[in-house]
Amino acid sequence: MSENKLTGAEIVIKALKDQGVDVIFGYPGGAVLPIYDALFKQNDLRHILVRHEQAAVHAAEGYARSTGKVGAVLVTSGPGATNAVTGLTDALMDSIPIVCLTGQVPTHLIGNDAFQEADTTGITRPCTKHNYLVKDVNNLARTMHEGFYVARSGRPGPVVIDIPKDVQFAEGTYVPPGEVKHKTYRPQVKPDLSLVEQAVELIANAKRPIFYTGGGVINSGPMASKLLTQFVRMTGYPCTNTLMGLGAYPASDRQFLGMLGMHGTYEANLAMHGCDVMINIGARFDDRVTGKLSAFSPDSKKIHVDIDPSSINKNVRVDIPIVGDCAHVLEDMIRIWKARQKRPDQVALKQWWAQIEEWRGRDCLRYVKTDPIIKPQYALERLRELTRKHDTYITTEVGQHQMWAAQFIPFEEPNRWMTSGGLGTMGYGLPAAIGTQIAHPDSLVVDISGEASFMMNMQEMATAVQYNLPVKILILNNQYMGMVRQWQELLHGSRYSQSYSEALPDFVKLAEAFGGVGLRATKVSEVDDVLNQMIDIRRPVIVDMCVDQKENCFPMIPGGRAHNEILLGPADQMGEETRAGEATPEEGMVLV
């Protein structure tokens, strides 16, 4: 090898290290063998071998979300890349910074239908923030650094870098990160101050305000959560978080109303509906949050802070649009608030809080406790109590258990909660837990799961066992795809088409077959003991928590309905709820 020249594979490794990557999640194959060979020859960069490429991306997402760093993935061409597509789409929808390296057939074979060839950049174009095909080894280092810059800047997202095998073998020049500057991509992080000033005036003069904050606050970094908490407390206003935003504001605080949206709390949704000033920070008016758009918070002036201009006025027209990074905007808001010595209208605020407390008094998360049948909510309440003193990270799969987790597990700080929000990817939780555990080896990482979701990526138990990762998989096993069953019950005349989990494995034996530990609870009296064992065992554990098969997740705003048409559960004695199916308008039925 000539001097100062590296092979493409070596350039990849060097660039990863220079970008601060210490772990990469991947799966080898023919088109990435040179990179795997270069990995073999060094010890700084750790490779975690997953069992399916989708899981590699989810694991990197878990790593990224729990650390705030960029997650790195390495997969082969063709099926390796296509398997990664679900993970990439998930990361795009939830704005998670990922750099995914894919092998490609040698450049002279591209377009030839070669073995394990797929048009990776074509396939991943709509499911990445940006992607690259590197055809010249001398562009490789620059592209790697640019890819990391794009993934983490502005609204974060996944980036694919497709590297043909001949480029991995070829020799080229390495350039360090400092010398690489993107030609044009400069997202706006500092807001237009005049708009922030207008926003502060509107906030200060509000009578019925609410902070509605989302994943943008988490993505902005821990400082944004601190500033948010500071600002919300300065104002004395109520605050609700989206599913993605949980942890940005401490759940134990009286000003916190819980999550909002389809399965959000009664008080959060009614406060959103009835507010006169809505302060949206880093949320995107997602359809799970807004419900029926034409009836969404009809009487409010809306402030929207977002780093992505295309999120503004996409679904909901706002009065004060502020493009910028949440931490920057919050800092400016606090500074201007202090400088102008703002003090909210205390009389109005007192009335507003009285109204909110009345809503909160409905105790919307109440459920009918049973014995010996375990209610899923009860299992999570016990998990909450028994993990209180632990350094805990929670991941979830997708479905009822996910919504119950969001309702019943409180988060006091950001980066503790990893869930698939936008895409709603079943099978996300276990690999995400693995990625989280890799980043936080001594912490307690629990994947709150359903039996159906778990089986979508259960092969990753082998990864957990291989790397001795003590992840805990808490399966709330109701033998149904619970959310599908719930919708079928409420909207399709209880015709449970294909939603029963037939032929389930014995999860205890399954855990043992993988070399982990299996535990089971079938009655209330066993719950604490099983959860305590789960927490204490320093090995991968699957808990088969056999819960009530027919429990539904409430509150619920059915599709096509407004926030104030929220349905409460059977434990609520007020008796004014209607069944979702009876009153769901036709246009609501087509919504998902």
């Binding site: 174009r125 709509p126 940006h130 992607n131 044009t184 991509y185 758009l293 295309s310 006025n313």
Partner: protein, 168 residues
């Protein structure tokens, strides 16, 4: 919710790199936006910059979305809404083949003269006309030719530029 459909001409400067047009087109198809016409060519060989002109239609909210979504693409340098930003010129070029003999052939030539379309190919039984103008003028000419033996049309789509001294 406003429902008035507006037609806008949008100019986009992009890096002339592989896949950039696919990104723009994919954005429109993936999000369900309309493309009435789209033209693209490199305008700065040294900087490798191409200019895309898109004519699209939608509600005001959709048009704003389209511009923001375009601006969000990493290789996009600049997005300008010529319709919003004031006076601009729009031109389209078409090649129009008309076949026929006798009176119809003579009539097509007379009309071409009125529309200032140029004959760029002639045989004893056909003409190819080249015409430049607004999309509406081309529509009018092609409509008349349809009755006189139109056999083929090739149109470039709209190219547009703002009036006055300012650059994009």
């Amino acid at each position: 919710m406003e429902t008035t459909i507006e037609k806008h001409t949008i100019s986009v400067l992009v890096d002339n790199e592989p896949g950039v047009l696919a990104r723009v087109i994919g954005l429109f198809s993936g999000r369900g936006y309309n493309i009435e016409s789209l033209t693209v060519a490199e305008v700065d060989a040294e900087q490798k910059v191409s200019r895309i002109t898109i004519v699209t239609s939608g509600t005001r909210m959709i048009i704003e979305q389209i511009k923001n979504q375009l601006d969000r693409l990493v290789p996009v340098h600049r997005v300008r809404d010529l319709t919003d930003e004031g006076p601009h010129i729009e031109r389209e070029l078409a090649l129009i083949k008309v076949a026929g003999t006798g009176d119809r052939r003579i009539e097509s030539l007379r009309i071409a003269d009125i529309f200032k379309a140029r004959v760029v190919d002639a045989t004893l039984s056909s003409f190819v006309f080249e015409m430049t103008g607004s999309a509406a003028e081309l529509d009018d000419f092609i409509g008349l030719m349809r009755q006189l033996g139109l056999v083929d049309v090739s149109r470039t789509g709209v190219a547009a530029i703002s009036k006055g001294a300012a650059s994009l």
